[in-house]
Symmetry: none
Subunit: 121 residues, 2 copies
DNA sequence: TTTAATGCAAATACTTTGCAGGAAA
DNA sequence: TTTCCTGCAAAGTATTTGCATTAAA
């Protein structure tokens, strides 16, 4: 059942290792790749099964797939123009693992995003 | 624009202060309350606006509304049983404002959630 | 009367599934 | 052939919106 389509994985990588199924699909379309949305979903599910990527949820509920092991980072998003900057987690990482340990949690991940209005907006 | 329907708030309270819109609706139906799904959604949105409840996401993407004390905090959520612990942001707060300032962002907010498997799961 | 609340129905958006055609083994 | 991969179309689920009706002020 190895549906881990390499083209999908590759696209997710080039998207910064952090994108929704819809985004991966649209990106592949834009680049002229011939692929169906269904296949993208199935490939991403398979990658999750194989623990090659993990799943987070955006604020609007859309699932975002993140490469495990890829450079872990966070986002600074402009509410006005949607402009996004990749940023380092810095102290957030230690905070997350510390809190999790305190409460006996394991297999731990976290999300942290900052949003505001950029200089232009 | 006070759509904070008290029946909806009351039902959310009786549901343990932790339920999805669909669950609140079904609960009210079961108890013979006459209400529409739309009204439940709008009431919950309004409660979020008024910062009387906050919104999390279940693993399947469904929004869950949760009564909160009003103080700014973050969440530690179990992927297994959905159990949630309110936690302090600690260093995250400074990190967020610092990064935002660095990039010239203003009117800034942030989200930060930790998820994993709790001791029981 | 003027304003706001309500809820049905339709629209949206994301995601999954049924199924048939095609590629690979 | 047999098994897996694809992707269209349809179904499913959560959520939002248009609009006409009703209740409240």
């Amino acid at each position: 059942m190895s549906r881990s389509n390499p083209r999908v994985l590759n696209t997710l990588e080039r998207a910064g290792g952090f994108a929704s199924a819809q985004e991966v699909y649209r990106l592949m379309q834009r680049e002229g790749e011939s692929i169906g949305l269904t296949t993208v979903y199935r490939a991403l599910q398979s990658l999750v099964n194989d623990k090659i990527v993990d799943v987070l949820r955006r604020d609007d509920g859309e699932a975002i797939y993140r490469l495990c092991g890829g450079a872990h980072h966070h986002h600074l998003v402009c509410k006005g123009c949607g402009d996004t900057v990749e940023i380092e987690g810095g102290s957030v990482e230690k905070w997350a693992t510390g809190i999790a340990q305190e409460h006996g949690f394991r297999d731990v991940g976290h999300t942290a995003e900052i949003f505001g209005l950029c200089a232009k907006c």
